[in-house]
Amino acid sequence: MIEVLYFAWLRERIGERSEQIETQATTVADLVEELRGRSEAHALAFSDMASVRVALDQELTGMDAPLSGVREVAFFPPMTGG
């Protein structure tokens, strides 16, 4: 069981701040593929992956990162702090 978090427009499109997901996905990319199947909103949110970033257990990483041992996955657009 992992917790998936969404921020900014990903959160708005999906309509959830977080979801508990039971998954066999081994990489972030596999998980994204699974999430796309959950609803049209999910499919839309993940339609342009160039605009999506991911953090595993609060560390920024890439879409090919392995999920083993990960408890928290966060998806969000490119950051705009400062």
Binding site: L5, F7, A8, W9, R11, A55, Q58, E59, L60, A74, F76, P77, P78, M79, T80, G81, G82
Partner: protein, 157 residues
């Protein structure tokens, strides 16, 4: 080293004064503050979302990296989240060093990393509606100049 993530406004003047007082041995203090632009009166509010938990970690990591790269006697990062009005302070960084080149470089470095590597997202509401602020290509490009392991030292203070 100090990192604060808060919704409350901060008093830039008081922060700078307190920071300068605590940096023993410093000859140079540089500060940067980011303000909500009023865009000629067109901007109504800015909402800043962040990722509690990761935000503090990311800012602390950025601050540690700056301290590893330059000879600093102090660093401070404050970043707000929540709803802000035009003219309000969004965030500030301060760096103190013996020499001015280190203080300037470290402040620019902190800002470049904070822009693109700290989990904040801005949403603007103005005359044209509400939109998420797009990340800028040049902000991503700005990170390239720090990719050398160490920066060359510039002029001394």
């Amino acid at each position: 080293m100090s990192v604060r993530v808060q919704s409350e406004p901060f008093d830039m003047g008081a922060e700078v004064a307190a920071f300068s007082d605590t940096t023993a041995g410093a000859g140079a203090v540089v500060t940067f503050s980011g303000l909500v632009r009023d865009e000629g009166g067109m901007m109504q509010t800015m909402e800043i979302e962040h990722y509690p938990g990761m935000t503090e970690k990311a800012l602390t990591a950025i601050e540690s990296e700056a301290n590893a790269r330059w000879g600093l006697t102090g660093t401070l990062i404050i970043h707000r989240y929540g709803t802000l009005s035009p003219g309000e302070q969004i965030m500030m960084v301060a760096t103190a060093a013996r020499h001015r080149a280190d203080a300037f470089a470290a402040a620019a470095f902190l800002m470049d990393y904070l822009k693109s590597r700290a989990p904040f997202w801005k949403k603007e509401t103005g005359a044209k509606g509400t939109t998420w602020v797009d990340a800028k290509d040049e902000d991503e490009a700005a990170l390239d100049r720090w990719s050398d392991q160490r920066e060359g030292r510039g002029p001394e203070s």
